[in-house]
Symmetry: C2
DNA sequence: CCAGTTAATGAACAACCTGTCTGTAATTGA
DNA sequence: TCAATTACAGACAGGTTGTTCATTAACTGG
C-alpha cells in the first residue's frame, strides 16, 4: 500500500502544471483554478492535497532540493579537503536536467522565499567550513568568514541564474567550473582585462 | 504650483506604510486596506494615486534606485579606469541610510522583480565594461566577460544582503570594501584558510 | 474477480479582496 | 475669499479563496 496511483497522478500533474504556468505567467499571477485547469484536475482535488499555491510550490522546491542534496553527497565527500569544484559541477548538471525549476527558483518566484532560504543555508555551512579551515591551519583569517561565505554563494547563484536563463547554452558546465576555480585561485583582477602591474 | 500638499502627504504616507508592512508581514500578505489603514488614508485615495500594490512598490523602489544613481554618479567618474571600490563604498553608505528599503528589495519582495531587474542591469553594464577593458588592452579574456559580470554582481548583492540584514552592524562599510577589493585582487583561495602551496 | 476502501468530481457556499464610481466635505493655492 | 482640487466614506459587481457535501469512479488486497 505504498501510495494510491490516483494520488500520485494528481500530485504530479499539479506540480507539473505549476511549473509550466509559473514560467509562462509568474507565480503571483496564478490562480488555483489556472493550475487545476492545466493539470486537468478538479479544484476540490487540489485542496485535498495542498493547503494553497504556496504549499504546492514549497513541496515542489523541497523535492528539488532533496534531489540536489542526494546528488551532491558523493561529490562532497571527495572534496571535503581541497576544493576541486566537483560539487559545483554536479549542481550545474542537476540544473541542466531540471532547468525549468531552477529558472523559477532562481528568479525568486514565490516571494523569493525558497531562494533566500537556500542561499542562507548554503552560506551558513560555507561559513562554518571556512572557520574550520582557518582554525585547522591556525591562521587568523584576513577576511571575515561570514562575508567570504556570502561572496561564495552569491557568486555561485549569480552565475547559476545566468547560466540556466541562457536560451542557447553558451558555455558547457565544465568550462564554467574551470573559470570559477580560476577566479577563486587567482582573483578577478587578472581576468577583467587588466595587465598585472607587478 | 509644484504639487498639492495633500498629494504629497498621501503619497508619502502610503509609501512609508508599505515599507513598514512589508518588513512586518511580507509583500504578498498585504492588502491595500492594510496599507491605507497604516497610512491613515482612505482606501479610495490609494487608487487615486496608484493602480495597485505593485504600482506603489514600483514607485518606491524606482525612487530608491534614482537616489542610488544620483549618489553613484560622482564616484563612477573617479574610478572609471582602475577600480578603487569607491562606488561600492558609496552604495554601502546609501544602504545604511535606507536600510529598510534595501532589506525589502534584497529579500526579493514583490516577486523579486525589482531585484532581478537591478541585477540584470548591473550585469549588463559590467559585462560591457569588461569587454571594453579587454579590447583596450588587446587581450583575449581568459574568462567569459558575461560570466565574470555575473560573478561580480552576484557577489556584491550577496554581501550587501547579508550586510543589511545584520542586526548588529558587524563590519563597517570601509572594512567590507577592503575585503572585497582584496578578494578581487588576490583571489578567494588565500582567504579561506589555506596556505598557498606555491 | 470481487468487495471494501479511498480518491476524484462538480457544485454550492460565505468570506474576503479588488478596482471603480459615486456625492459630499475639507484643503489648498491664488 | 473663491474656484479648483483632493480626500473621504460608502456602495458596487466581479473574482478568488478555502470548505463542505453527496455522488461517482478508481484502486488495492485478498
Amino acid at each position: 500500500m505504498a501510495e494510491d496511483r490516483r494520488t500520485r497522478r494528481s500530485r504530479r500533474a499539479l506540480g507539473a502544471a505549476l511549473v509550466e504556468l509559473v514560467l509562462e505567467r509568474g507565480f503571483t499571477a496564478l490562480t488555483v483554478e489556472d493550475i487545476t485547469e492545466r493539470a486537468d484536475v478538479a479544484r476540490a482535488t487540489f485542496y485535498a492535497h495542498f493547503r494553497d499555491k504556496e504549499d504546492l510550490f514549497a513541496r515542489v522546491t523541497d523535492d528539488l532540493l532533496a534531489g540536489l542534496a542526494e546528488r551532491l553527497a558523493p561529490a562532497m565527500a571527495d572534496s571535503a579537503v581541497g576544493f576541486t569544484g566537483k560539487p559545483v559541477l554536479e549542481m550545474l548538471r542537476h540544473a541542466r536536467e531540471e532547468r525549468d525549476l531552477y529558472r523559477i527558483v532562481l528568479r525568486g518566484e514565490g516571494d523569493g522565499k525558497p531562494l533566500q532560504m537556500f542561499a542562507d543555508a548554503c552560506a551558513r555551512v560555507t561559513a562554518e567550513e571556512f572557520r574550520a579551515r582557518a582554525e585547522r591551519n591556525a591562521v587568523e583569517p584576513r577576511i571575515d568568514p561570514e562575508l567570504l561565505a556570502r561572496v561564495w554563494v552569491g557568486e555561485q547563484l549569480g552565475v547559476l541564474r545566468w547560466w540556466v536563463e541562457q536560451e542557447t547554452p553558451s558555455l558547457p558546465a565544465e568550462e564554467v567550473v574551470r573559470m570559477l576555480l580560476d577566479l577563486a585561485m587567482r582573483g578577478r583582477y587578472w581576468a577583467s582585462g587588466f595587465e598585472p602591474s607587478a
